[in-house]
Symmetry: C2
Subunit: 386 residues, 2 copies
C-alpha cells in the first residue's frame, strides 16, 4: 500500500493506493478536525453518506463498510452510466441529502467509477456550499486518474463536464480489490489511461508496462500491485504542481483531443472513454511524427504499448472530416485554438497550438488506414459501458 500527499492551494490530502486502503477512512472519521466550531462538535462528522451504484454496492458495500468502519451511513444510489452526470441528478441527490438531514458537517463518500466520482465531487462541492468528500474509486481509470486532482463535473447536453468545480477531497482511497468484478473490457479501458501516464512519465512505469502488459488481469489484483501506485503517482505529481490546470496539468489531455472527437462522433456509444483515449493516443503519436516532433522508432515503441492492451472497436467507418470538425469542440480550446499535447519521446511532451488541420486529418486517416494499426476487435453491438 502506498500513500501520496497532494498539496494544493485548496488544501492537502492523501491518495492511498493498494489493498487495505479503505481502512484509512477510520482515521479521518475519528480525527475529523473542524476549525471554527464549538469544542463539543469538533470530533466526528454529524453524518456520513455514500453515493454509489446499486450493483456495485451490493457486491462491495459490506466489505467497504467493514474495512472503513462505517456503521450508520446513508446510501444514495444513482443509475449507472454517463447520463447520471447531470444537473438534474445533482438536484435529486441534493434533495435526498437534505431529506436525510445532511448538514454542513456531513461527509460524502463517492464509491464508484468516474461518473460517481465526478457527480459526487460536484455534489459535495456545492451542497450547502461545500461538505467534506472522500473519493473511493472503483475502476482502473478512476483509481489512477479521475478521482485524483479535485476536478468535478456534470454534463450539459452533449458537452461533458461543461459545469463543474475544483474541489479537493479529504482522501482518495483506491483499493484494487474492487477491480476483480470489472469486465475485461472495462479493465482494459483503464489500461489505456495507464498507458497515457506511462508515455507522459516514462521511466519505471513505462518499463514495467512493457514487461508485464499481458499479465495484467482484473482477476489477479496482485498483478496490479506495482502498476497502480506508479500510475496514480504520475497524476499526483502533475496535480501537486498545478491544481487548477494551467499549462502543466494540460499534459494530462494527451490522447484526449482526438479521443473526445471520437466519442462525440459516435454519440458516446461505441467506445468506452478509455478506448477512445487509446485511439486518441495512436492518432496523436502519428500526428507528432508528421509534425516532425517524434522519431518513428519512439512512435513505434509507444504505439506498440497501446496496441498490446487489446482489441479496440473499429474506427474504419468514421468520416475523417467529421472527426476533425469535432476537434475544436474540445473544452480546452482557448480563444478558438486547439492546444495539442504532442509526444516528443517516452517521458516528454510539449504543447502546440498551431497544428494545421490538414495534418490532424492526415494523422487520423493514417491510423484509420492501419498505417499505425491497432488490432481490430469486434464492434460491440450495444452502448459502451465500462
Amino acid at each position: 500500500m502506498r500513500s501520496f500527499r497532494v498539496t494544493s492551494r485548496h488544501g492537502e490530502y492523501d491518495v492511498v493506493v493498494g489493498r487495505g486502503a479503505w481502512r484509512r477512512l477510520r482515521t479521518l472519521v475519528r480525527s475529523g478536525d473542524f476549525p471554527g466550531h464549538r469544542p463539543a462538535l469538533q470530533r466526528g462528522y454529524s453524518s456520513i453518506f455514500v453515493l454509489t451504484e446499486r450493483g456495485l454496492w451490493r457486491r462491495w458495500g459490506r466489505l467497504f463498510q467493514t474495512e472503513a468502519g462505517l456503521k450508520n451511513c446513508g446510501v444514495l444510489y444513482v443509475p449507472p452510466g454517463e447520463r447520471s452526470k447531470s444537473l438534474a441528478m445533482v438536484e435529486r441527490t441534493a434533495a435526498r441529502l437534505l431529506a436525510a438531514r445532511a448538514d454542513r458537517r456531513s461527509l460524502l463518500v463517492a464509491f464508484g467509477g468516474g461518473v460517481v466520482g465526478d457527480l459526487g465531487g460536484f455534489l459535495a462541492s456545492t451542497y450547502m456550499r461545500g461538505i467534506d468528500l472522500v473519493q473511493a474509486p472503483t475502476t482502473v481509470v478512476a483509481q489512477v486518474d479521475s478521482a485524483i486532482g479535485g476536478k468535478t463535473g456534470v454534463n450539459v447536453g452533449a458537452m461533458k463536464n461543461l459545469v463543474g468545480t475544483f474541489y479537493p477531497p479529504r482522501l482518495v482511497l483506491a483499493d484494487p480489490v474492487v477491480l476483480s468484478s470489472l469486465s475485461p473490457r472495462a479493465f482494459r479501458s483503464g489500461l489505456y489511461e495507464i498507458a497515457k501516464h506511462a508515455i507522459l512519465a516514462g521511466g519505471r512505469l513505462f518499463a514495467i508496462l512493457e514487461t508485464e502488459m499481458e499479465s495484467l488481469r482484473p482477476e489477479k489484483p496482485k498483478s496490479l500491485e506495482r502498476i497502480l501506485p506508479a500510475a496514480a503517482k504520475v497524476k499526483v505529481e502533475v496535480v501537486k504542481r498545478d491544481e487548477r490546470e494551467a499549462r502543466l496539468r494540460f499534459v494530462l489531455n494527451l490522447g484526449h483531443t482526438f479521443g473526445h472527437a471520437l466519442e462525440e462522433a459516435t454519440a458516446y456509444r461505441r467506445f468506452t472513454h478509455g478506448e477512445a483515449v487509446g485511439w486518441g493516443l495512436l492518432a496523436v503519436l502519428r500526428l507528432a511524427n508528421l509534425l516532425g516532433a517524434l522519431a518513428k522508432s519512439e512512435e513505434a515503441r509507444m504505439a506498440e504499448l497501446v496496441r498490446r492492451i487489446g482489441p479496440l472497436p473499429s474506427i474504419a467507418d468514421l468520416n475523417e472530416r467529421r472527426i476533425v470538425a469535432l476537434l475544436p469542440q474540445d473544452k480546452k480550446t482557448i480563444g478558438g485554438r486547439i492546444h495539442w499535447v504532442i509526444p516528443e519521446r517516452v517521458g516528454k511532451v510539449r504543447i502546440v497550438d498551431d497544428v494545421p488541420m490538414e495534418l490532424a486529418a492526415a494523422a487520423f486517416r493514417e491510423v484509420q488506414a492501419g498505417l499505425n494499426p491497432a488490432r481490430m476487435g469486434p464492434r460491440p453491438p450495444t452502448r459502451a459501458r465500462a
Copy 2:
C-alpha cells in the same frame, strides 16, 4: 464614490459603491491579466456576457454599456423572480453560453438583484469550472449585502441556496443610479438589510440612519450617498476577515433565522426577503431581551429604527408553532442546533446555540401581539416581488 478592497483567501477584489462605479469595468477589461497563458492571449477577455432580466436591461442596459465601455457583449435574459434560481436555469444558461462560444477566458457580468447575482455567481463559478465574474448589483440589498462576499447559490425545492459555491467576483460595481427605478416597496426591503448592518456595526451608520431614515427615497439617489458605502463597508469588513462563513461571518444572519421561517411559512409569497428580515429583526430583538442579553432601552432604540422604515405585511395570522417548527430548517443549523445571532447592544452581537424553543416562541408571540409592534401595512394581494 468609495472603493473597498476585499482580501480573501480565494482572491482580491474591489467593491466600488457610488455614482460612476460601472466605469471601473473598463479598467478590468483593459488590463485583464491571465497567468499561465501565452502572451498573445494575456490581454483582454475572449468575450463578455451579461446575465440580466429583460425589463431591467431595457431600462438601464444602454447606460451600463456606455459607462462600462462594453461594445459587443452577449446578453442572457432570465425571468425575474426566485424561481430562476434553479439548477434547471443553470443548465439553460450554461448551454446558451456554450452556444455563444463562451470559453474559459470569457467574462460574465451579473447585472441585477439577488436572483441574478446568486444565479450568475453560481453559473460563473461552475461554467467550465470557473470563469471570471463581475457583480453589478441593481437593488439596495444586493448593493450592500448579497453581491459582496462571494456566496453564490440556487434553490432546490423549497430550500433556498441549498446548492452553491464560494466564488469571489473580480469586481463588485454598485451604482445607485439604478435604484431610482425600484418600487417603493422594493426599496424599503433593502433598507431592512441596511438596518441589520447598522445594528451590527453601530457607530456612524446607525447614527446617520437614525437621523435620515425618512428622507431615504429611491427617486433621490443623493439621499443614499452616505448610507450605501457605509452599509456596504459593514459587509466588506466581515467578509474580509472570514470569507468562508465560520463564526464571524455568521453574524450576518442577524434577523434571518426568524426571517427564513416567516418566508417559508408563507411560501415566499407574502414578504419580500427584506420584509421577512425586518420582522426577523424585531423578533430576535425581543428574544434577546427575553434571554436577558439586551436591555429594554437598547431594544427599543433598534426596533424603532426598523419600524421607521415603513409598513410591513401582517404576521397576525401566522401560527406561532409552525414558525418555531420551521426554525430548525435553517441551513445554518449544525448538528441539529440553531445558532442564533443575539444583539447585546447597538454594534454588538453574540452567537448563542442553546436558546429554549419556548423562548423563541414567546418572542414571536409578543412581536405578533404588538408588544413590539411595527406599523401594519396592507397585506399585498399577490406574490411578493422586490
